[in-house]
Symmetry: C2
Subunit: 160 residues, 2 copies
Amino acid sequence: MLRMSKLTDYGTLILAHLSGADGDLHTAADIAARTGLGVPTASKLLKILGKAGLVTSVRGSQGGYQLARPADEISAAEVIDALEGPVSITVCSSGAGNCEIESLCLVGSAWQRINVAIRRALKDVSLAQLTGAPGTDYPLIDLTSAVVPEEQHLGKDGSH
Amino acid sequence: MLRMSKLTDYGTLILAHLSGADGDLHTAADIAARTGLGVPTASKLLKILGKAGLVTSVRGSQGGYQLARPADEISAAEVIDALEGPVSITVCSSGAGNCEIESLCLVGSAWQRINVAIRRALKDVSLAQLTGAPGTDYPLIDLTSAVVPEEQHLGKDGSH
DNA sequence: AGTAATCAGGACCATTTTAGTACCTTTTGC
DNA sequence: GCAAAAGGTACTAAAATGGTCCTGATTACT
């Protein structure tokens, strides 16, 4: 688990390079050369990161990419969201409590809750921490609400 | 991320069923019928779980499977290990610090450390918790050592 | 002993995902 | 206008995944 694709790793690498020189623009070719990735691949990744709002781009000649925000304001969760897309562990296609394998729903949702808890914790890990700078902040993952569903913390998330 | 394969979900489901009737033997066909899975698939999963030591099997006629240990002594980490296998985020094929893309190693290892931290936390979630019984224990994931490798908390984990 | 039930271990194939590439369009500086 | 550079889409090869099947080994029951 927590398997992440190569592209996510590459993407993080690109972000790391971008976070080095904060203000400057870098072309896709430049980034490709410095990361050792192929130009098409780097370009593809940069497009994805741009769509996710993690990098900003300037088009046209003399254009390029740069980090949309300082590296310590970008969370690991955002990076993953951008590069892996929204992930569901197991989709219960027929809606809650309505599928043929009812207990599978329950089990699946247990993993789901754990997943959410981890994701929430990853929000507290910044790109800056990820890319090397040690000793900035110490996040904590609380699996309590993940494992004990009966205690509903309403108002914690958007759905109320 | 934290995408887990269908088989892992199915496997958890099987373990959940097995944890219901603790002492009894269940045949693969029986489990398949009760979980709604195909017999070959359930059988395959049970073999995997058996190899991992999570279930024990009795061969021959009147044989079957049962949980190797009580459900609260099986951790979610073990379940994942068994069904997903050992996972490496990105394998630096040429050994530490020796690859062409050196910074990729660094970034990769950051994700790796986070992965390890999550896995460690998952050791504190039991199968019993996963399969429904609410309110048993409240684990906590500490990403500290994951992000800040220099500060070694010896004695914090199992080594005491 | 014979037979049927049942697990063990692979081998195999279809489908889906992933990774990488290519091509064409749009924007902008010179 | 031309060249540089991002934006978008589509395609292909390779790998992982999910599922099935077959053959052999082990054991209970008759």
